[in-house]
């Protein structure tokens, strides 16, 4: 079914990338980059998550159905966040 197979080397490289991203996140937090502090951290954390899901959890080599199931939880999480934000971002707070 899968022509491309996971190898020890691919896993180790994934780990290396994760560690590098981790220290990038850590380092960036100590620089004053304004709005980009949050953006960089958010982007890299999501990249880390995607790396783990694709490689460690082997979704990259899995059937399309698994992709859908893996994405479903995050999709519903977005619903929760977005619609709650529609309240809090438009509310008077004191």
């Amino acid at each position: 079914m899968n022509l491309q197979r996971p190898t020890q080397k691919k896993f180790t490289l994934t780990w290396l990338a994760l560690v590098i991203f981790h220290f990038t996140i850590l380092g960036s937090a100590y620089l004053n980059l304004g709005i980009f502090n949050t953006l960089i951290i958010a982007a890299l954390a999501i990249v880390q998550m995607i790396l783990i899901i694709l490689f460690f959890m082997e979704v990259r080599w899995s059937a399309k159905l698994i992709w859908i199931f893996a994405a479903a939880g995050f999709f519903w999480l977005c619903i929760l966040f977005t619609l709650t934000a529609s309240d809090y971002l438009t509310r008077q707070w004191h």
Binding site: H22, I52, F56, A70, G73, F81
Partner: protein
């Protein structure tokens, strides 16, 4: 009604091992989706209060210990690697490597808890527990930050403990030669769970430890 001869690892309700393995994987992914939403409620609370009390969150976040946090991140990332390698060893039928990688994973998971324990000890000593004894030098709303810090890391730690329990069973089974290229579904499911716990931490770390560290 005679069932056709089947692999002893295939349960009665399934036609073959492939159907069983696909069903089990799909089931685990469904479970992970429920876990995403389970943690999601806490993350939502975090984002709401971070939005309203950003200043207090910055002050609170600076009281957390980045060193402990970083060590634990590396420990968990590495344990995810060893877990992936254990599953890989099973797939390639390197049967003796399986339990070695699993033991290493177990060890790393356990050290995560030990480090977290030291960190909690320090946090308590620094009066970072919300309530009557909360550090008076900090603004009141920082208590919300620390309430979330404790519940989020606590819930994560509970998941690590469950993971260690599962991993112990897997190690035991692996040592008895249960897993191979033919039969490895439970091992793969345990792996999926463990990686998920790792992912949660990768978000907890920047959200709790790194809110405007530079200021």
């Amino acid at each position: 009604m005679k069932m056709p001869e089947k692999n002893s690892n295939v349960a009665e309700q399934f036609e073959d091992a492939q159907q069983q393995s696909e069903a089990a994987h799909l089931g685990m992914w469904t479970f992970i989706a429920t876990e995403v939403l389970f943690f999601g409620g806490l993350f939502l609370a975090y984002f709401v209060y971070r939005h309203f009390y950003f200043h207090e969150f910055v002050i609170g976040s600076k009281r957390t210990d980045v060193l402990f946090g970083t060590i634990n991140s590396i420990i968990l990332l590495t344990s995810s690697l060893t877990m992936a390698l254990a599953v890989h060893a099973a797939k390639e039928n390197y049967r003796r490597q399986i339990s070695r990688w699993l033991l290493l994973t177990l060890l790393l998971g356990f050290s995560f808890l030990v480090v977290k324990g030291f960190e909690y000890h320090k946090d308590i000593h620094d009066q970072l527990v919300p309530g009557a004894n909360f550090n008076p030098a900090l603004p009141a709303q920082s208590q919300i930050f620390f309430w979330l810090y404790w519940t989020m890391t606590g819930l994560h730690a509970i998941h690590v403990c469950i993971g260690l329990g599962v991993m112990s069973v897997m190690t035991f089974l692996a040592r008895r030669g249960k897993f191979s290229a033919v039969y490895r579904t439970p091992l793969e499911l345990a792996g999926l769970y463990w990686h998920f716990v790792d992912i949660v931490w990768l978000f907890l770390f920047p959200l709790l430890y790194l809110v405007q560290r530079h200021s």
